[in-house]
Each structure stands twice: as C-alpha cells, then as structure tokens.
Assembly symmetry: C2
Homo-oligomer: 526 residues x 2
Amino acid sequence: MISWKNLNELEAYHALEKTAPVRLAEVMAGESGASRVRRYSVPMAGGLSYNYAAKAVDDDILDALAKLADEAQLTEKYEALYSGEMINTGEKRLVLHQLTRGQLGGAVLADGVDKRAFYREQQDKIAAFAEKVHAGEITNEAGEKFTTAVQIGIGGSDLGPRAMYLALENWAKANGTFKMEAKFISNVDPDDAAGVLRETDVAHAIFILVSKSGTTLETLTNESFVKDALKKAGLDPARHMIAVTSETSPLAKSDDYLAAFFMDDYIGGRYSSTSAVGGAVLSLAFGPEVFARFLEGAAAADRTAQEKDMLKNPAMLDAMIGVYERNILGYPSTAVLPYSQALSRFPAHLQQLDMESNGKSVNRFGEPVDYVTGPVIFGEPGTNGQHSFYQLLHQGKTIVPLQFIGFRSSQNGIDVDIQGSTSQQKLCANVAAQIVAFACGKQDENRNKHFDGGRPSSIIIGDVLDPAALGALLAHFENKVMFQGFVWNLNSFDQEGVQLGKVLAKRVLAHETDGALAVYSELLNI
Amino acid sequence: MISWKNLNELEAYHALEKTAPVRLAEVMAGESGASRVRRYSVPMAGGLSYNYAAKAVDDDILDALAKLADEAQLTEKYEALYSGEMINTGEKRLVLHQLTRGQLGGAVLADGVDKRAFYREQQDKIAAFAEKVHAGEITNEAGEKFTTAVQIGIGGSDLGPRAMYLALENWAKANGTFKMEAKFISNVDPDDAAGVLRETDVAHAIFILVSKSGTTLETLTNESFVKDALKKAGLDPARHMIAVTSETSPLAKSDDYLAAFFMDDYIGGRYSSTSAVGGAVLSLAFGPEVFARFLEGAAAADRTAQEKDMLKNPAMLDAMIGVYERNILGYPSTAVLPYSQALSRFPAHLQQLDMESNGKSVNRFGEPVDYVTGPVIFGEPGTNGQHSFYQLLHQGKTIVPLQFIGFRSSQNGIDVDIQGSTSQQKLCANVAAQIVAFACGKQDENRNKHFDGGRPSSIIIGDVLDPAALGALLAHFENKVMFQGFVWNLNSFDQEGVQLGKVLAKRVLAHETDGALAVYSELLNI
C-alpha cells in the first residue's frame, strides 16, 4: 500500500537529520580518499558508472538515506508509475515516458490501447518514414532528396531533442551513420526563425512541427513563419512538413503535413526525448538504428532504477544524496559540468527537467510544504567552465554541489599529442584534478590562494558518448528527478507555474491591461 | 582619500539593514504599480533604459543604498581605477579595460607608454588588417579571399567575443555589413576542434589565436590541432593564423603568424571583449566600423557610470540593488533572461564576468569576509526559458532575482502576423507579462495554481540590439560588477580560484599522483 507523505513526516528523515556530517576534505585525503574512490562507485546502464566518493557522505549517512528511500517507498512508487497508476494527479494523467523505450511491468491499457504497443508503433512509423526519406522515396516536389531536418518546437520539444542531436552529431559523423543535418527553431523572437531560415536551403528541408496540444503559441507562430518562407520560395509547405503531436490535437488530421506521428498526454514535454518528439528528428538525422540504440540505453537505465537496494541503484542514490545536500546541508543550487563538448546543451536540458519538475512549493495534494524542494540547475562544459565561473565554485561564499560527467575516449578519435599528452588525456586529467581540488582544497598562508575544500561532487564516467550511453544518461536523470519528487511528495509532472505568464501575455496582446502591465506594454511599444 | 573597508564596517550598511522591506506584490498592484513603472526608470547609454520598478525597493531603501554607495566611495574608486591606480592588488596590475574604448580621466602612462594610445593603435592596426582581408589584399596562398574567421581561445577569449558575435550576426546580415562568418574553438576536448574543423573550409579560413600569456594549455593544444589540420590539407599554417596576445608573450614575435595584435596585463580576460581579443574577430566578421560603434556604446556607458547620483547611474543602481538582494534579502542566485535570441550566449558571458570577478571569500587584503559576495548567475533567452525553468522561478521555494532584457524591434525586421499580432509583439508581450506575474502573483484557492508573487526583477529596454546598444549593455554589466566588488571590498580582477585545478591537472599528466587523484586517473584511463 502506497502512502504519500511529506518528507518531514517520515521518521527516517529525522534520523537523517541526526547523522554526523562528513568532513570531506579529511576523508578524501590520502589512503582514505583512494579507498573511497574505489568503494563509492556503482555501475549504471550504457557502460557508465556513478562515482560518489567526493560527496559528503559516509556509510552512516548512506544507511540513513537508504532507510529514507525505503520509508518513502521509492521503489513502490516507481512501480506504480510505470504500471499506469495516475501519478500526475494535478492533471489527472498517467506518466508513461518509460514505456516509450521499454516494458517494465505489466501491459498498461489507456484510451483503449496497450500504450507500449502504441509508442512502439509510432517509433516503427517514424523509422519507416525516415528510411524512405534517406532512400529518396519521400522527396521534395522536384523529386530531390531532403538534406536538412528543422525541428520547430519549444521547451521539451526543443531542449531535449536539441541536446541529444548535438550529443550524437560528431559520433554519427565519425561512425558513418550521419544522414542529415538538423536545426532547431524555438523562440517566438522572429530573429530566431529568420536566422535559421537564412542559413537553410528550404527547398531541401523537411520541417518537424512539434506540439503535443497543437496549440503552443510560439510553435504555431513559427510554423506560420516557415510556411511563409516556403511559399515565398515557390514551395508547397505541405510537401515539406511533418507533425509530431497528440492524436486529439488540431494538427493530427490536417492535410498540411506529409505525415503525423503521435505522442500523448502521458508523456510530459521534458520527458519526451525518447518519444516521437525526439524520435522524428533523431531518426532523420542519424537513422532509426541509432535512435533504437539510444532507446535501449534508456530502457536499461529504467531497469536499473527498479533495483531496491539504493547502493545498487544509481538514480536512487543520486536522488537521495541530492536530497541530503538540499534539505540537510541547505545548498540551493547544483552545477552540471560535462567534460564533453558534445554535451554542451545537456545542462540546459537538465535545467528544464529538474527545475520544471521539482521547482514547487506545494505537495501532490496542493498543500504548501515547509521544506526546500528542487535546486537551481546550471552548467557549461568543462574545461570551458574552468576558465569562467569555477572561481566562485572554488572560493565563493556559497557551496555548490557539482555533477561531473567524463568519458575515457573522444567521439571523433582525432587527437594531437603535445607536451607529452593528448587532448583527451588533458580533458580527463582536468576533471580528475577538479574533483580533488574541490574536495580537498589546499592550505595556503596567503588566504587569497587558500582553498577550503569540502565542496562535494560526483562523476559519471563512461568509455565514449555513444547512443546507448546517451540514452542511459538521459534516463538516469529522469529517474533521479522522479525519485526526488517522490521524496519531496511533489507532483513532478505538471507545471502550473508557467500558466500565469501565458494568461497575462494574452491580455497584453488583446490590449486588456491596466496598472503596471499597461505601462510596461507602452514602454515596449506593444 | 580612498578607504577600502569591508561592507559590514560601513555605517550605511547597518542603516540599510534597518530599512523596512517592501511588499512587492502590493506596491506593484494597481495605480501604485503603474506609477512605479513610470518613475523607477533611468536612461542608459546606447538608447537603453534600466527599469527597476519590479525590484523590492522603495524611496527609503534607495536612499539608504545611495548613502551606502557614497560611503563605499564607488565614484572615487571607479575614478582611481580608470586613472591608472593599481586596483588589482593581488596581481599588482592596473585595470584598464575602459581605456580600450575611451579616455575617462587623464592620460594613463604605464610601461612607458600612454595606454589609451596603445589600445587605440591596436584597434587601428586590426581595422587596417581586416580591411585588407575584406578587400582581398591579404589572402590565402592561392590568392583567394578568406571567408571564415575561427577564434581559438578559452574563457574570456571565447565567451565574450562569441556572445558578441552571435548578438550582432543577424543584425549585420540584415544591415549589409556582414563580412565573414566566425566560428570558435575553445574546449581542450578534441571533439570541439574536430567538430568545428569538419564544418570549416580551412583553405579559406583565417584562425585567430587568442591567449594573453601565450601559455594557455587549452589554446596552445587547439593551435596544434588546427596546424595539423592545415598541414594535412597541404596549407601553410603561418599563412592562415594571426595572434592576439601580450607583447611579452612567446607568441608576440613568432613567425608563425600573419600578424599579431596586442593586449596587456591590464585587461582581464573577462573584461577583454572591447580589446583586441574581441576586436580582431568582430572586425573581421562585421567590419571595423561596426566594431567602432560597439566601442562607442561601451564608452558612453562608462561615462554614465561616472555619475555621482546613484539614481542617474544605472550601473551603480543595478549594483546596489544587487547588494541589497544578496546581503539583506539573502538571495543566492540571479537569472539573466534576454528576450532576444541574439543574446543566446550573453548569460554565459555574464556568468563568467560576475562569478569569476566576485565569487570570492577574502577581501582585497586577503582577509576572510563574513558576508556573502557574488551570486550564482545563470540564464537562457525568453521565451524559451518560460517553457523550461520558469516553473521554479514562479513557484519554487527559493526566490531568484531576475534581469530581463527586451527590445522593441527585431534585428531582421522579418515577421509574421498571426492571431492579430506579430512575433515581435508576442515576444514583448511575454516579457511584460512575466515581470508582472513574478511581482504580483495571483491568488488561487487551488494552491497548485496559486502564485505568491513578490519575485523581483528589473528590465533593460532598448529599441533594437545594434552595435552601440550591445556595447552599452556589455559595459553596463562590467561596471555593475566592478561597483559590487568595491562594495564587497573584493579584488574583482584576479582569479586565484582557478589555479589549484591547473596544478593538479599537470600532476595527473605527469603521473605524479597518489591517493584519490591516482584512483580517479586510473578510472579515467589517463
């Protein structure tokens, strides 16, 4: 029997509050540090591993966290979710993104269909469509092959798919599976669409319109923008556009599209990269085989997240350490620092995933909670960040927990050896060095050159960022955020906080304003 | 006589602590709100204005902040800085980035030369060089024009110039001043250079190697990477590369470059966009005239920052409100939210500028301070962010002050009218709506749909993002960060926090490790 309780109603939370804090700089020094790095590691899906040696935890704290995970019934709640219980209570929806990549429990029936079969069918339809595009069986009016895919979408229809595309672009080029370039239009700022279209050969471009509801203002506006451009180029928009939407949306049965692929209300935007939302663009860009391997990586991570033992469940462990840092240690933000240029937009995806899911003040019953919830998430790739905001991370007044990601090999395999090491070795040396610098610090009589240390981090390590590793990485964080939402007793799957701005913006456009809003509208010449 | 005191040694700070807080949701409602939006606005350089109506301040708090600015001698310290006093005491250097774009006080002599004349001379040399490249007088070995500029640099040699390039790319294309595309290689990750080079016609590319010291490991590594690629293409690297460095660096007198342009130790990396570091790439991309107008915008902002009256000095006002939010209200982070796709990387530049300058725990005398200093800075363009992390900003447990930026017109001037409004109007309507939604909130009996409001923001408004507006925007934030550093009694111009990681990384590459560092090195196959 599942019981939804606030964090501070759980006995194990109060036991956690009583645990003694870890002096990270001390335990990470010398042989103790070496032993921690060896011991505090857990395998992940996709050939990755999660190493938490440099987190401010010890066996006592981990034990208390495991008990808290247990009392919060994380495994049972996850099972309820993937088994099709109505977990998104605010919007009265199931939460089924895991089903887009695998079947974790029994069949889930909704809207009269087996949902796994439905998602699978969409994936197969996309695969067949993409293969026809690649084979030149689906072409532009002139019978010429499409060479570019342009996704039109915003939020989850943009950030995740864009981050995934960038993550695999060089891998696909180096591994002979690159099919066509992808671009993205998201912002309602007309300079976004105009800028992308200026650099796009629209006669050979296929546009992917992505909106679950079919009513997203930015996306419909950009669709018009693109249709205008196609018409001006003497092209038929209906021959250049496909839709990814829900079956009930106004876009679903329109003749305006070459094809339509479906998702549904049970896939939140920020959890939609493994649905048709990511599937169409990634299958067109890299081929359906690559997308299938990406899904396999995600599915494997979902299975790992079923493990009851927290120490063998990296997503649950990551989630619980995050709760400890947020609620016991009081840290307000977390930095995501991939030592991989391919992951340049992965932090922006995680920023949405985490902050939109758990940036909330009421529990799943709509009651205010009196503990802090999701942190601010930000980040940039290392080594770039080292030459930027790391100053504050090392010596600032606020401690920011860090999530490093590193790979033993590059995607391209092209490298140079200078000063006795390759670029890849330098990259890896830097991430290793940073972890230890943050944890251990350095004593110096000159206080300006002194480092307190005690700044916690974990690292996810892999061999190479390939489709399976990327899928596993994506699903790891989805599951981490889900587990944290369970601990905080939040509904991680709605986003009521974005509604008020939309309502007021409509009022401005209808010139139905007064007070401050009227004056701002005037100042902005609306 | 200037006196460098800690914030909590200032009487005005303790008076500020005693001011009554403002109930933002109340004062921003109705006529009071309208009146605030009209009153709480100050002109900036470049045709911009700074509106702080939605900040949690009132006349009493502003008065207390003005007294604090006065007691902290912000105007005098700024004057000392631009007059050539040694403000960067840690590194024993002058701080002269304002001189790259204007002469604010008397001549500054250092190293036996007039520094303004020196920076001007470099700008003129770059302008002449760029014009020859554009005219086809400086070409590749085959006598063909260069078509792409590729900047190789990291940190301040990358983030600022890249953000500025992206900010003006569409403007230049729409206004007929676009000369050549620019690309950027920064990360030591070999996939960064390999990815950029794969998409670059190296035979027609001119590479700009940017390193003040001439010893930046990432940049030298990427130089080797590029030279390798040029040689493999049968090209002479010395005919394809220019250097931006200091006169004393190993790069300065090398025959490896077509030309060398100079900056010096008095220009910090994060303050270097208006020096040769930004000048070379921006002059090549857009022409020297555009770069000159950008500098004029920055110079005008620097002059505005000389104003003693805080209420007429937007950089000082912005700085002081930020201090109030950080030290009195206790907010740990700030989001930068430009409603302009062209400013997509401007938050990343500000993240470096602010966090590397003021993310410190010791004062300029190396003594620990017992108050908080620089906040975490993050951000993405609106409207994209609205569909992402705004959920936490609206309804999260942590209040995040917001810096909006908006323009009345787009850069391209291409637009569509759907549902009765243009994209640009929708963009502006959204930013207006967000300010009011954050400030005023909305009562709702369903707590999940309830918004507390009271979330402070300011907005910088301009007509269009052109070179002068961009220069003013850049300098505004440089001066804001400088003023805050003065208030917190920090040295905002060194970055000792980045050193430890470098030292440890070298140790890893030399295989001189033990303890945790040795095991991490092993796990990462170094």
